[in-house]
Symmetry: D2
Subunit: 408 residues, 4 copies
Amino acid sequence: VTQDAFVLRLLDTPEVQRLRRIRALGPASLAFPGAEHSRFAHALGAAHVMSRYLGRVAELAQELPPCERIDEVTAKIALAAALLHDLGHGPYSHTFEEALIGARAHETWTSKIVLHPDTAVHRIVAELGSHAPKAVERLIRGEHPILHLARAVSGTFDVDRCDYLLRDSYQTGVRYGLLDLDWLFASLRLHVPRSGEPARLAVDGEKGLTAVEGFFLARLYMYRQVYLHKAVRAAECMIYALVRRLCALGPRPCTHPVMAKILRREAVSVDEYLLLDDSIFDGEISAYTCDADPILRELATGLRERRLFKTMALRPDVDLETVGDALRTALRQGGYDPEFMGSIDRVETAAFVEDDALCVLGANGRVQPLLAASPVLRGLSRERYVQVRAVFTASARPLVEDALREWT
Amino acid sequence: VTQDAFVLRLLDTPEVQRLRRIRALGPASLAFPGAEHSRFAHALGAAHVMSRYLGRVAELAQELPPCERIDEVTAKIALAAALLHDLGHGPYSHTFEEALIGARAHETWTSKIVLHPDTAVHRIVAELGSHAPKAVERLIRGEHPILHLARAVSGTFDVDRCDYLLRDSYQTGVRYGLLDLDWLFASLRLHVPRSGEPARLAVDGEKGLTAVEGFFLARLYMYRQVYLHKAVRAAECMIYALVRRLCALGPRPCTHPVMAKILRREAVSVDEYLLLDDSIFDGEISAYTCDADPILRELATGLRERRLFKTMALRPDVDLETVGDALRTALRQGGYDPEFMGSIDRVETAAFVEDDALCVLGANGRVQPLLAASPVLRGLSRERYVQVRAVFTASARPLVEDALREWT
Amino acid sequence: VTQDAFVLRLLDTPEVQRLRRIRALGPASLAFPGAEHSRFAHALGAAHVMSRYLGRVAELAQELPPCERIDEVTAKIALAAALLHDLGHGPYSHTFEEALIGARAHETWTSKIVLHPDTAVHRIVAELGSHAPKAVERLIRGEHPILHLARAVSGTFDVDRCDYLLRDSYQTGVRYGLLDLDWLFASLRLHVPRSGEPARLAVDGEKGLTAVEGFFLARLYMYRQVYLHKAVRAAECMIYALVRRLCALGPRPCTHPVMAKILRREAVSVDEYLLLDDSIFDGEISAYTCDADPILRELATGLRERRLFKTMALRPDVDLETVGDALRTALRQGGYDPEFMGSIDRVETAAFVEDDALCVLGANGRVQPLLAASPVLRGLSRERYVQVRAVFTASARPLVEDALREWT
Amino acid sequence: VTQDAFVLRLLDTPEVQRLRRIRALGPASLAFPGAEHSRFAHALGAAHVMSRYLGRVAELAQELPPCERIDEVTAKIALAAALLHDLGHGPYSHTFEEALIGARAHETWTSKIVLHPDTAVHRIVAELGSHAPKAVERLIRGEHPILHLARAVSGTFDVDRCDYLLRDSYQTGVRYGLLDLDWLFASLRLHVPRSGEPARLAVDGEKGLTAVEGFFLARLYMYRQVYLHKAVRAAECMIYALVRRLCALGPRPCTHPVMAKILRREAVSVDEYLLLDDSIFDGEISAYTCDADPILRELATGLRERRLFKTMALRPDVDLETVGDALRTALRQGGYDPEFMGSIDRVETAAFVEDDALCVLGANGRVQPLLAASPVLRGLSRERYVQVRAVFTASARPLVEDALREWT
């Protein structure tokens, strides 16, 4: 079968189709109404970017030692890795996973699903050879004998990020920092050191530097404008609080049995896990709006009818414990449960962290690290984006603003 | 309150927020992975287009007799009508409604929700005056003392269509026939006949004709490429079959109680109806994949895992009864239940039907009907887009192709 | 040499570089300030579209009989034809050529330049073989043993039009009717009749019909909005009048010697012709603004300072002689020279004329003519775009409007 | 007259129409074939951005003390300043001006043209009041009693730059760093200090920071990719050399009389200066291709037929005198005139230089300097873009590369 036919067969499996029912950006559509796209669209996009990567590497193959060229089976493993890398996501993508401290990360579930002999994706991948499912699983984790391929699947600059930055920008309408995929691939090179070390991803210094900077700027802007937007974080904090409350109360009658197991920290099988999706969680939130517990009820109703917690920006360097105490005291004075009706939310991202995955090839064959070649990235590497916010139920606003004023 | 604040209050009601859980294009994302947007985004967009319409009418107000100008209360009624016009949609938008022959149309439910004294949208609209909910409901149905406003809400050329054509094009990536809203509004005029008849929407002949043609071409192309795409129609036919099967079997244990009532043709209250959304229906389809009935099971599994019915294009002028008989005979011969495993699907849309809602103003003040001014629309008005397809379970393909060959 | 290197060598010839000094749309930038692009950019674009065409034909080569496949030399001849097809344009592209009744058409000059042994383009093309210049020249005129290639260079649907419709749309900002080149090439096919007749261009009926319709709609809209825009036509009519006046007066002292020869209908060599470009004509117009002849002075000053003739739309079916007489009488009454201060301008274009260059391939292998497959083109084929305008010096407006009112 | 009518009258003056004959980016179209747009399109665009600025300031007017609001006459002066700011450009925009060391800068000529009582623009502006021409001229130089308006016309962040960054990006196809004008204006504020100091331009910190960063990134990228592109700089160095050669030789017979005066450093009147445009200079270059002087001939032919000098990138920190000597020695050895056949080209631009023209308004009313609020700009402010290149006639490449290798 051709590469296209192979991807199509994987697409029409229950495990991949399930991603249609998981929104890529969790609750972000509460702030960006267009951001309703699913993990399925992203998985398809990541496979598309991978297929362009494979095409580019094929053009450059003669520069590579034979052991670093990509044969047909490896190409299919690479496409499978790109397509399947998010299989393990649960409801609301990252949000749910972060809500349940101690829960298995989605990466672990991805591994389990790919390796489980009864899943459809496993069966189709195994037709490439009995080693293939393990190879796909390892590649998803960034491990592969061909280093440049490993980094293209999971690195600072990989097919996953290329797709989601473009896709999330398109869907949210946040247009700053568009990255130009055509230009990026046109300037992509492979650097083969004379030392016999493995080939590394590189960009042509004349053409490609701006494309790479565009990638990292796009990432910074999407974090700042979208992923860490105050209303998005407020909704996520409400989901965290709701899950904490559920853990405290124990599963409710209407809690889905698999969800109940997860809340009770019981083991969950791959089959069971695959039953979960956004619609399960949406259904539960709907049911909790009539729950006997007033806190669960309030959180569920707020999420369902978009009455979100309010936020208050604090100085990035505040002592989290001190302001946390002040917030809890204020909430308690107002008669709110400080465990569930507010929290301090600190988020941090580095705009650019150098690694050796990508280098720059000058016109004269000189190889430079990215930082040495790019003033823009040098600038970004010295900065972190840190945001500290108090997040709390709307009616507590006057109280909280009074109590935390000194830290703004 | 300002118009913006009024719209925001309506947005944050449970009835409008519910639209977040109803995909605008039903199962179209099975063919166009990007088409996962909800009715909520569309409602917001329609309100935005209305607010631009109101802005344009305000610019033209001095040309209008006072009784056709739009005062502040009427403006809010118009915004509410645009925002709320789709409130009555059930799961999978049009699909579900068409599946249930005899069910109430979504327009009826929209009316009920707006008029029901206990809904949040009713309460907020009623603050404009006790007549306001009725005025909004009538305007949604295209009735209003100010004719041009009535047509802008519900006509061949209305704010609803302007938003969904643009939005569906953006989300599906089908770029043919983009309409240019800025140019359209810049060339929008109001024609006030000397006869004392009410003012009508018009476009400036020099600038606007191309914009209006672009609107109708966009509509034709979206129908041809997206709304009536063979995979989209196949999925819809499967949903129709599944609902027919459910009606035949009676509700299953896992059928949602409100859905069960609808299937049994029992009366459903507004409160009950509002519980329905895509996640309810998705959850049921998931449950039916394990149902005891093999037909229900097969249909549900096919929808969930995207194993869609196949299609076979037939000549537009075939006799539907004749080919229907031939299809049923072929299915029966193959051991398939002809009631549920296939059907003849005929869809038809007129590219352009003239009405008097819109006319063209020449440079010299001459008024022309659209058809007289536009060769392109004259061309379109003579043509209909008709598509007849046999739609049937995949394994029956050889049988069906043999049986229906003569009608291709 | 590779195809790219061959194109680059042709680019850096004096004959091709000269096209940088000839605006593609003549005086259209007087109405659309962005439309200042040159024939050079268009030539480069046409070569790019040709190289995509060659790539697509290579993908489809196995469907073709060997004699209709494109070998390396033929590919370079095709690229040269696309790149060089406009070499013969004189100042202001079409405008100047149309101004001089009886002058040689630019196509004739293109042939002469390609065939002339002393031009750089001739020398470079001749390196492909001594037959090559003649082959390029014939291909530019639409003649080639491989029919589909001949039509791709010069047909209703050719690389020239693909480039200029996209380019002119981009530069003018007139966005209606964008055609989608990627989609067009993806749906391009070659139809090889069983009869042994030559292969023809075709589009895939499922995907490609809309793309082809988009092409013809784009063409219609560009004519209506840009090429035949009233201010563009007014400027062209002024240039025609200026050239008529020059012919009547004979060349002026400041007239460029080659231009003087052309005005006197003397023979002009290829070398001489290649000296002409927009800057020569701009320089002359500048000089004529101080000429002793008041009519030449007025026309030149009007063009240079953008004081254009006014236009008045007339009914498409007026008798040209009758309104021409009326216009001349009115101008004479006002003391204007009727030969130079106004004219009746009738332009006409067919939105779609069927030929057999392009057909539609149905899913079932059925071949259809475009008209049978496309309701939109059927509509367009019944209509012509005709525009009749009186065009006259601004100060004569009241007089002319009075005199011609009955024909509006 | 309305603002629009006022702008239209200014547009149709000989001085503004002359800008149609001056390419905005000089010889950049030799490297970017789309970059053929004129100063006229830019002037129109700058006036458009100004009219949006005035609209935004009108929305914010109630926050301003009366003396800083913009009345109707001031608005027209501002529009005139934006439209006329580039009137003084000579052939090839900046290039020609930089070629002639000691020549008057275009800004000086702009002032003279606006202030000269016989120009059409002067007459039209003077209808606003006898002080108006002087006010326009001062505003173009960044001087006006209303500080925020002065900075909007001439500052680090002004209407001129907004237009040319967007326009040059559109025309060259270099899409990195598009700035979003709608978003920029939506987030534009005016900061009125309590101290009584004048109001300053500001952006909303929540929304606007990214828009402002986008502006400065766009600027950096356009410099790096376009304005300082190696082929563009090579062409500019050739023009500098050609002008130096002309000065050394004295005007040639075919040199335009005004150009001859300039070369001889004789005084030139406003009327004479306005005769110059690209077509004059193009005509001269054409004539110089047949000049008796071999150096002038070679430079002119190279420019006309695009046989550009080659470039060789050197380390940014080389000592210019040392490498200049080495280059001249190498050229002399090869028999080339070192004065005209090569040079060292050092260009430098700061990515961001802080000034106080623009500040950031936080949600809580806090005012911050841009640098304090933006990690990206903080990064950029620490870096300069410096490029040192040897630029030399193509045939000298082996010699020069040998001689300068140690400085790469």
